[in-house]
């Protein structure tokens, strides 16, 4: 393998990691409160606002059901507004972030809804405010599930980030398309795929391990 090619792969991997890290960070920071809101704003819940809940739920669903490639194209004006360009790694971060928000929000919602209602009841009986219940009970109890949700989000992001390569987004997907497909270099294609698999494996096992560390629900030792 030529040193040039190695350099290309290293650069592409770095670009992918950068896109995933930034989109994952911003996307989950925005998705987290939205997910908490979705899980706590139904009728008779901690912050009852069933109408807003329904509207937010609708927007989340709409975003999630839009195919990612169409999302990328549809928000080009917005991407340009934010980053000043519509191609390249920087530009790709915008649609990746937008796609992450509803994805993570739904996972957060599920993680929180999964918590035993008895714990909310007990906290209410202690005189906790709804905000205290969110921070001291729900988030604490959901930590293992949230860790897995974040892991799943990052894994999906790695896949999406390869897709933005198809529309000039940079990173491993871009490299695979340009060299592997357009220049008939199956070896490059193969390397790209292997690197992606390794990345996904690393993220998944790190996430699993962390989640298990946080999870105190079963006896061990």
């Amino acid at each position: 393998m030529s040193p040039d090619l190695l350099l290309l792969i290293a650069k592409a991997t770095f670009d992918t990691l950068r896109m995933v890290a930034i989109a994952g960070l911003i996307g989950s920071l925005i998705g987290l409160p939205i997910g908490i809101f979705l899980a706590t704003s139904g009728k008779g819940e901690l912050f009852p606002a069933p109408n807003i809940n329904r509207i937010v739920g609708l927007i989340v669903n709409a975003t999630r059901s839009t195919p990612f490639i169409i999302l990328v194209v549809a928000i080009i004006p917005f991407t340009r507004l934010v980053t000043g360009t519509s191609i390249g790694t920087k530009a790709a971060i915008v649609p990746l972030t937008i796609a992450t928000i509803p994805f993570f929000a739904r996972l957060v919602e599920a993680a929180i809804r999964d918590i035993d209602k008895g714990l909310i009841e007990a906290a209410r009986a202690m005189g906790a405010t709804p905000t205290q219940i969110v921070f001291k009970v729900l988030l604490a109890e959901a930590r293992p599930a949230l860790t897995l949700a974040l892991t799943m989000t990052i894994v999906s992001l790695i896949g999406y980030s390869a897709m933005v390569g198809a529309v000039g987004g940079g990173g491993l997907g871009d490299l695979g398309i340009r060299y592997g497909y357009q220049r008939f270099r199956p070896d490059v294609m193969l390397i790209v795929v292997v690197v992606l698999i390794v990345l996904v494996q690393l993220v998944q096992s790190a996430g699993d391990r962390l989640a298990r560390r946080f999870d105190k629900r079963s006896r061990k030792n």
Binding site: L119, E121, R124, M126, G127, A140, R219
Partner: protein, 357 residues
């Protein structure tokens, strides 16, 4: 007045014509869970509320700390109308009312220490003060050595002890218990009940507990109310209600207690009227001092050797000794006459259950 002596005529919780209706939702129609409940919980008492599943027990207890609002009527806690409090007022009240639950409701993500500390963190207490408050509580419930464990590493009884320690953390004057022992085996149940009794005696805490088990009521309560289909059908001192149950629901709940049921073979052959040669089956109930006298040997002496014992139990209810004995003897006029004289002389409460061949 000595503070350690319970003062029962002073009231901690008062229900005044309380009704609770749940509005219709979806397919299920509106439902009246509580109907015109009047009930006082004496300060320093351990008051039990017993009823079948769905009778409205949880609804009733949840009204006390405002987890549920009455549809009509008033719930007063230390004279304060719970239904009239705003959210902030309710939170204040809840910090002075502890609650324990059937399924413990401990945070799996927190250690034993963290769980007991939670209500104090919520109340905004600083780390140092929390530390000083939690340690003695863990000692009180006998789990000081487990402070760094997680709930998943504890047995059911230990979890409930943590639940109790957590409920006591804010030094409440009232403890609510919603089926706190229903998920525990009989032995563990007894040890938790002992703990509740000790807390009641040592801290002067009023305990309001709901249960569907007569055993629990018998073991710890001083007062009891029986609830059926949302209405209080009987109430009084536990001893009186147990020894003279009036309502059929109470009788039905009591019949589950060991020693209170006739053996099946006898129950099947029971007839309402005697024919020649039959034997009378009589239940004797004796309390207090009578329960401690050698009644059986005296009975046999005065009635004749032809007395046999069919069922019996000696027990303690609300701290008072109590006995129930089912005996059978010849139903002829002479023997019956001797028996009745003996019963009257000894102040025994009797009930003829029927006759057997």
């Amino acid at each position: 007045m000595n503070a350690s002596v319970p003062v029962f005529d002073d009231v901690t919780v008062a229900f005044q014509r309380v009704s609770k209706r749940f509005a219709a939702s979806g397919e299920s129609g509106a439902f009246t869970a509580l109907n015109n409940v009047d009930l006082n919980v004496g300060r320093g008492s351990i008051t039990g509320i017993i009823g079948r599943s769905g009778a409205g027990k949880s609804t009733l207890i949840r009204l006390v700390n405002g987890l549920e609002k009455p549809s009509s009527g008033k719930v007063l806690v230390d004279g304060v109308d719970v239904g009239a409090l705003d959210e902030a007022g309710l939170r204040n009240l809840r910090r002075s009312v502890g609650m324990i639950f059937q399924h413990f409701n401990l945070l799996s993500s927190h250690t034993v220490f963290g769980n007991v500390a939670l209500p104090l963190e919520i109340a905004g207490m600083d780390r140092r003060a929390i530390e000083a408050r939690v340690r003695p509580l863990l000692d009180l419930v006998g789990l000081a050595d487990k402070h760094a464990r997680y709930p998943a590493e504890l047995s059911g009884g230990q979890k409930q002890r943590i639940g109790i320690a957590r409920a006591l953390a804010t030094e409440p004057k009232l403890l609510l218990s919603d089926e706190a022992t229903s998920a525990l085996d009989p032995e563990t149940t007894q040890s938790i009940l002992e703990l509740l009794k000790r807390i009641n005696a040592e801290l002067g805490l009023t305990v309001l507990l709901i249960t569907h088990e007569m055993e629990v009521v018998k073991a710890v309560t001083s007062d009891v109310a029986v609830i059926d289909k949302g209405e209080i059908v009987e109430r009084g001192h536990t001893f009186d209600v147990f020894t003279h149950p009036k309502h059929e629901t109470t009788r039905a709940l009591l019949s589950g207690l060991p020693g209170s049921k006739l053996p099946d073979a006898v129950a099947r052959g029971l007839k309402p009227a005697p024919s020649a040669g039959d034997r009378a089956v009589v239940r004797l109930t004796f309390f207090g001092a009578t329960a401690e006298r050698p009644l059986v040997s005296q009975l046999i002496k005065s009635v004749g050797a032809e007395v046999n014992i069919i069922a019996g139990t000696i027990d303690e209810i609300g701290g008072k000794p109590y006995g129930s004995l089912v005996v059978a003897y010849a139903a002829d006029a002479e023997t019956s006459g001797r028996a009745e004289r003996f019963f009257t002389e000894n102040g025994l409460v009797t009930e003829v259950l029927g006759y057997v061949a």
